[in-house]
Amino acid sequence: MLDLDLTLRERLGMEKIIQEALSGHVGETGGLITGLRHVQERCGFVPSETVRIAAELFNISQAEVRGVISFYADFRDKKPGQHHIRLCVAEACQSVGARAIEEDLLNRFAVRMGETDAADFVTIEPVYCLGLCSCAPAAEVNGKLIARVDGQRIADEVVS
């Protein structure tokens, strides 16, 4: 697990961040999920310590917390690479070449779908529809939506 490499100081700092991100959502409807999203927003991923802390705060079992984290595609257990590409691979995007773009990107960045390249430069994940199906193919690069893309356009966005 990646966060084993962290120093004690970093670990304590992170623990505090997790506490803070979660505690505001205890007692809220669906608070665990909202809290986890906030943990990820602040840490870049959901560190393994979150399981214990959330279980205590929300007064549920660690297994339940783990179950929630693993159920939802948004929650990551590792930091993504320096750049984050989410490529839409759903039907409307397929109809205008999403599969070819996927192949192109994986070659360009020497990475596998759903993974980060060896240099930690880019993470590519599939997404099933961004609601831009009228101007497909679509992608999200570092949080920015782009439509009518090709491999080059996405690569340009990564280096921009």
Binding site: T29, G30, G31, L32, I33, T34, L36, R37, F58, E64, G67, V68, F71, Y72, A73, D74, F75, A90, E91, A92, C93, Q94, S95, V96, V127, Y128, C129, L130, G131, L132, C133, S134, C135, A136, A138, G143, L145, I146, A147, R148
Partner: protein, 519 residues
């Protein structure tokens, strides 16, 4: 002189095509020319092939320019676009374009025109008429209006809204909820997103009326995480509604409370299924619940809950303002009112087209959509999302109508229409349907969880020509098993795209070596 207003969409599609950059360039250029302008960020008109489409007001008419790029802003100013002058990118008076003129926009009447966060704009264009009428009515009268309208669930299943309202209204409980399903997971659909970004007060008004009608005082909007712009706009609109007493302890002086919160999902298609959604909203894994009990009786935290799609709720204000009969005048047969059709995929003029039920599928694809974007021959259209059927060209004659489509093995669904040209391989699309089901299954029942993975394997064998005839039979059996044995429509409807592909495009299911030899 008052500030000249320039309208630039904030809609995700426009932004993804550069609208923010265009808006920034306009501000810079106006400053350089010492012009006093105001940028109004609106929703999109739904003509996405023209996005970013910027508009100016000239003699009470909106003149448009699109698709515009940042680099064209200078020439727009030089040409005098502020006065509506001609330019290479001019489209003329937007409302007069055939794509706009031929629509019957009941729900999207304001989208792309008004400032989504201005309550005065909203009211000036008919907003709040519905809720004001509802306040004067008894609960049962409100439910009666919905029944008369013939409105059916726009999320895809098409269940009569009036019956659902009646059930929730009649249930006795200390707390009831309105839950808006804004998970919009289907590929090929974006109408929910567009209305939430372009006219969020409409959704709020619809939910308030629903609360008044069934006696619910709390509402949630379950929004997918892929829609950050919609999340921002909805939250801002809720603040506007609160400060104007459209939301709060005393809705518009009625003495009745309604509170509304946005909840953001975490990336799970199955959470669009209403019971999975409710589990998720309770902060749990989105495992599907068995029905019955229906959410209408035992929903969120076990309380009676009215779960509706965004567009079902957005139809409500118009219905209350104009009457159930007026709504039922649109459409045909048992498909009443209008639907926001979404033209997507390999299509020249992609976007949103709202019109009464009964419109021909082929008119949406060709007359309004302009045919394939690549210009290659049309091959198929998938309607009703990833769980919907692939239809061949002959079926473009069919009218969009719940019953007619069902008789033809298809469904109107949420109104998504995804076009494919002749390069599409329907065996690959069928395999993808299984792949998607395997990826997104909640895992609760075996026919879906295991069936989807088996489906991928069987198609791979068919492609390879291994025990071909046997595997074609197996594919059909497997689909039958999934239809009969799945707990929810995820597993239960995945066979629709698969078997429609087999039925209408048998040539695509020949083994790979046969197909290659034929080429």
């Amino acid at each position: 002189m008052s500030k000249q207003r320039i309208f630039v969409p904030l809609d995700s599609a426009a932004v993804a095509l550069g609208a923010d950059d265009v808006a920034a360039a306009i501000v810079r250029e106006a400053a350089a020319r010492d012009l006093d302008i105001e940028i109004v960020r609106t929703g999109s008109r739904g003509m996405h092939w023209l996005e970013p489409l910027i508009e100016v007001e000239v003699e009470g008419q909106r003149v448009g320019y699109g698709p515009t790029q940042q680099s064209e802003v200078l020439s727009l100013f030089d040409a005098g676009f502020l006065e509506g002058a001609d330019h290479e990118k001019s489209v003329g008076i937007v409302a007069n374009l055939p794509f706009m003129k031929d629509q019957q926009r009941l729900t999207f009447s304001r989208c792309g025109i008004t400032d989504p966060l201005s309550l005065s704009d909203y009211q000036a264009h008919g907003g709040l008429d519905g809720v004001k009428r509802a306040i004067k009515l008894e609960q049962s009268d409100i439910v009666e209006v919905i029944k008369t309208s013939g409105l059916r669930g726009r999320g895809g299943a098409g269940f009569p809204a009036g019956i659902k309202w009646d059930t929730v209204q009649g249930a006795q409980a200390d707390q009831k909820y309105i839950v808006c399903n804004a998970d919009e997971g289907d590929s090929g659909t974006f109408a929910d997103r567009m209305i939430m970004e372009g006219d969020p007060l409409l959704l709020i008004e619809g939910m308030v009326i629903a609360g008044l009608g069934v006696g619910a005082t709390k509402g949630y909007i379950y929004l997918r995480s892929e829609y950050p712009i919609a999340a921002r706009i909805l939250n801002e609109a809720i603040e506007v509604a609160k400060s104007n007493k459209l939301l709060g302890d005393d809705v518009l002086g009625s003495g009745i409370a309604f509170h509304l919160t946005v909840f953001i999902g975490a990336g799970a298609y199955i959470c669009g299924e209403e019971t999975s959604l409710l589990e998720s909203l309770e902060g749990k894994r989105g495992l599907v619940r068995a029905k019955p009990p229906l959410p209408a009786l035992e929903g969120l935290f076990g309380k009676p809950t009215l779960v509706h799609n965004v567009l079902s709720l957005c139809a409500v204000p118009w219905i209350l303002a104009n009457g159930g009969d007026a709504y039922a005048e649109y459409g045909q047969g048992r498909s009443k009112g209008t639907l926001a059709f979404q033209l997507a995929g390999n299509i020249k003029q992609g976007g949103l087209f709202e019109t009464a039920f009964g419109v021909k599928l082929g008119d949406l694809v060709n007359k309004y959509g302009g045919g394939t974007r690549t210009g290659r021959p049309f091959k198929t259209v998938q309607i009703g999302g990833p769980l919907g059927a692939y239809l061949p060209e002959q079926m473009l004659e069919l009218p969009m109508d719940y019953e007619v489509m069902a008789q033809n093995g298809a469904g109107v669904g949420h109104g998504g229409i995804v076009v494919f040209d002749d390069t599409a391989d329907l065996m690959a699309q069928a395999r993808y349907a299984f792949e998607f089901c395997a990826e997104e299954s909640c895992g609760k029942c075996t026919p879906c969880r295991v069936g989807a993975v088996r489906g991928e394997e069987v198609i791979d064998k068919i492609a390879a020509g291994t025990d071909y005839d046997q595997n074609m039979v197996l594919l059909e059996d497997l689909c039958e098993l999934m239809v009969d044995g799945s707990l929810c429509a995820m597993g239960g409807m995945t066979p629709i795209p698969v078997m429609s592909a087999v039925k209408h495009f048998p040539d695509d299911f020949a083994p790979r070596h046969v197909r290659e030899a034929a080429e």
